[in-house]
């Protein structure tokens, strides 16, 4: 079980640009579409998701290599990862509530919902499958989060303009045109793929 030979910086850039969690792996699309209506909450959610993914990938890496693998209980890994994610989200919620009530209010319901954000579990499962070492796992986690954050603020900025446009056919309004926008963004991000390649 050797860690893949990838430089830290290229892994970080790749997880933001070429293998963007959202635009090339479709992870976290649900909350992405519903939240990106509003720029401010997109910003808050982006920060929260980045933090959760970064912290969770570090903890899950430790859990995977010090608890799950030695005990040989790989078949339980989904349940264990979910518990770790839920625990981290709960803790983060309490910390934010204690130190920054205004941010807590701004995030509202979105914070507990990060538990079921596919991007978090997705990053952790990719980390497990690709046998990243600890540093790589953390970099990949924060990079994946930052990529998600970048994508959601980009889309939110486009949507503030888009929702005022009356030329869109009625059946395509709202979600439909958002999906098409995401498609174009995904195409643009494919343009980066010549730069860095990570499996």
């Amino acid at each position: 079980m050797n860690a893949p030979d990838v430089g830290i910086l290229s892994l970080f850039l790749a997880s933001i640009l070429t293998s963007n969690m959202l635009l090339s792996n479709f992870l976290g699309t649900c909350s992405f579409i519903s939240i990106s209506k509003d720029f401010k909450s997109s910003m808050g959610l982006g920060v929260a998701v980045t933090m959760v993914i970064g912290i969770c990938s570090a903890i899950c890496w430790a859990v995977l290599y010090f608890i799950i693998k030695p005990l040989g209980i790989e078949y339980l890994s989904f349940i264990i990862f979910i518990i770790v994610i839920a625990g981290v989200v709960q803790m983060l919620e309490m910390i934010i509530d204690r130190f920054s009530p205004s941010l807590y209010l701004a995030l509202g319901i979105f914070l507990p919902l990060i538990t079921v954000n596919c991007a978090v579990l997705g990053v952790i499962l990719f980390m497990q499958i690709r046998n990243y070492n600890f540093i790589q796992a953390v970099v990949f986690g924060f990079g994946g989060g930052a990529g998600w954050w970048l994508a959601i603020i980009l889309l939110a900025s486009i949507r503030t303009k888009l929702d005022k446009n009356n030329a869109i056919p009625a059946g395509l309004k709202g979600t439909g045109i958002t999906l098409i926008t995401i498609g174009f963004m995904a195409m643009a991000f494919i343009g980066f793929s010549g730069m860095i390649a990570v499996q």
């Binding site: 479709f26 579990l121 059946g171």
Partner: protein
């Protein structure tokens, strides 16, 4: 209309998870460039949704409200682990191709959505049918998308080559953007159809 038929119709069309609720597009879009993987994925999602809703409907009276979310997720992980182990045992090649996406069924929003919106307030039998209907309602859309993507992207269906040498594969169909475009087009069609149907005196 009997409640069972209404629930079925809701899941498959009127309240289709993709067109109306816009849920669960996360994990499974990634596998729709291949019809066989999509079918396996749809079966997994349907199984987990139906069984999860059934279990939750049984448990809803004894479960404290505070821990509801986490219990729901744990029940779903339990069923997804069953799917994962079965796949690893009988279809190791497909399991490898799907990679993390099998595990990601846990966080598929449809599961959580149905658990919160339906299984929480309904009888176990009906919840099971609701889960089944939503899984299948989600499934038929995905199968349509996978059909188009695999046919245009590789010129094959279920891995069998269907077109001759002269066919140029549409590379875009294999890549991520096409999935978004196709879902959007489907959504557009469904919305327009619905708007027409409700204007034209409820004809089907």
């Amino acid at each position: 209309m009997s409640p069972t038929r209404k629930v079925l119709k809701d899941g498959l069309w009127t309240n289709n998870p993709i067109f109306v609720q816009v849920l669960g597009i996360c994990s499974t879009l990634a596998v729709t460039n291949n019809l066989r993987n999509t079918l396996i994925m749809v079966l997994g999602v349907t199984f987990a949704t139906a069984m999860g809703s059934l279990t939750l409907a049984f448990m809803k009276d004894v479960m404290p409200r505070k821990v509801r979310m986490i219990v729901t997720v744990l029940i779903h992980s339990f069923y997804v682990i069953i799917v994962d182990i079965l796949l690893k045992a009988y279809q190791p090649a497909i399991s490898k191709q799907l990679g993390p996406y099998v595990g990601l069924i846990i966080t598929n929003c449809i599961l959580m959505g149905r658990a919160e919106a339906f299984a929480n307030a309904n009888k176990p039998g009906l919840s099971f049918i609701d889960g089944l209907a939503n899984g299948l309602g989600y499934g038929w859309v995905l199968v349509c998308i996978a059909f188009i993507r695999e046919f245009l992207g590789f010129g094959s269906l279920l891995g069998i080559k269907l077109v001759g040498e002269g066919f140029t594969p549409w590379t875009i169909m294999v890549m991520a953007p096409s999935a978004f475009f196709l879902v959007a087009i489907f959504l557009w069609g469904a919305n327009t159809w619905k708007a027409k149907a409700s204007q034209g005196g409820q004809k089907k």
